[in-house]
Symmetry: C2
Subunit: 206 residues, 2 copies
């Protein structure tokens, strides 16, 4: 392969590792998937990364960092209500569910790889923090007060994770559209009917 400046190569390898991980899963993806995809010698990979587990962890790190800051940037210019509906849309409109496949795979594999555990612990924490801020903003904007934002955020986050996991099961009866409805209803439960009224003019059938 053509000679490349160090940092550029490093990023290219991480990128290739991400797609390999998405294709074969964290446990099955291998160094050869990456080197073959790039048409590059096997030694090159170890010139940039001390070990495969290290590269793997960095690839996951970069991916989840991107996801979190993507949502953070998008919601920073929206009102609280719109932000929460955006969050749900963002989850549901992830076409082939790349985000969720990687996220759940990493949450699982984290039990066997301390490097991934570190990455995911921090990711979960930052995600929760972000959702908590959205909830707090929503409450301040006059939407019917509810629980402690931190608690509401935990429930919402966990619910998203759980629904995503089920939607990913092939042949299952949980679809992304169902998940969207369930999440929207959850927000109505948590924040009161005002959320729905503020938002789309739906009736609240509770």
């Amino acid at each position: 392969m053509a000679r490349l400046a160090g940092e550029e190569r490093r990023k290219q390898i991480i990128e290739a590792a991400q797609t390999a991980i998405l294709d074969r899963g964290l446990a099955q993806a291998a160094t050869r998937d990456v080197t073959r995809a790039l048409g590059v010698g096997s030694g090159l990979l170890h010139h940039y990364f001390p070990s495969w587990l290290d590269l793997r962890a960095q690839a996951v790190q970069l991916a989840v960092d991107r996801e979190i800051s993507e949502v953070q940037v998008s919601t920073s210019s929206l009102g609280a209500s719109e932000s929460l509906t955006y969050l749900i849309s963002w989850m549901v409109e992830d076409e082939d569910m790349r985000h969720w496949r990687l996220w759940l795979n990493a949450m699982d594999e984290a039990h066997r790889d301390p490097r991934l555990a570190k990455v995911m612990t921090s990711a979960v924490q930052r995600w929760h923090e972000m959702v908590k801020e959205l909830i707090a903003r929503a409450q301040k904007e006059g939407i019917c007060p509810g629980d402690d934002p931190a608690i509401v955020a935990w429930r919402l986050t966990a619910l998203m994770d759980g629904l995503a996991g089920m939607a990913l099961i092939e042949g299952g009866s949980m679809t992304l559209e169902k998940a969207r409805n369930l999440l929207t209803k959850q927000l109505t439960l948590e924040l009161g009917a005002d959320f729905n009224n503020n938002q789309a003019g739906m009736n609240s059938s509770l």
Copy 2:
């Protein structure tokens, strides 16, 4: 190893496979883990099971079947409210989280193994069905009516899955006791304050 009647050996192998899977994860567990644990030749395993993936799927199948019917039996003699709190306790009091580690691992690996996908699709469906019945019973027993039981069951099930996943992350801030509180509160949200009053005499702070 001593000679064993066919069916007994079969069960013994499945059992050993379960612990191997719990120890090393579905993706890393190997035939040799099983044969070594039993002190048995490698050929024996393939005498009883056509392939490792087959044995693996059967081991998971048996494990989740056991979990589901354990809960089903326990709740069959309880009132609806007690059943729902039992469900939460059952989730939280799973000491080293064997149930959840296997469950989440299987949900994840199901994306890469059609045999596991079949097993887990059915498991999720039966689990949801069971929770749905509990919710329906609760509503019939006069607890404040809420949504369609099927929908409430989806939210509750997904919430349990999501919380379990987070509680499993080491070093994370989600603990099992937190999960218990969040789930109890969720039931209060879904079924109304009557649930809590019926149950433990707590105040409802919504």
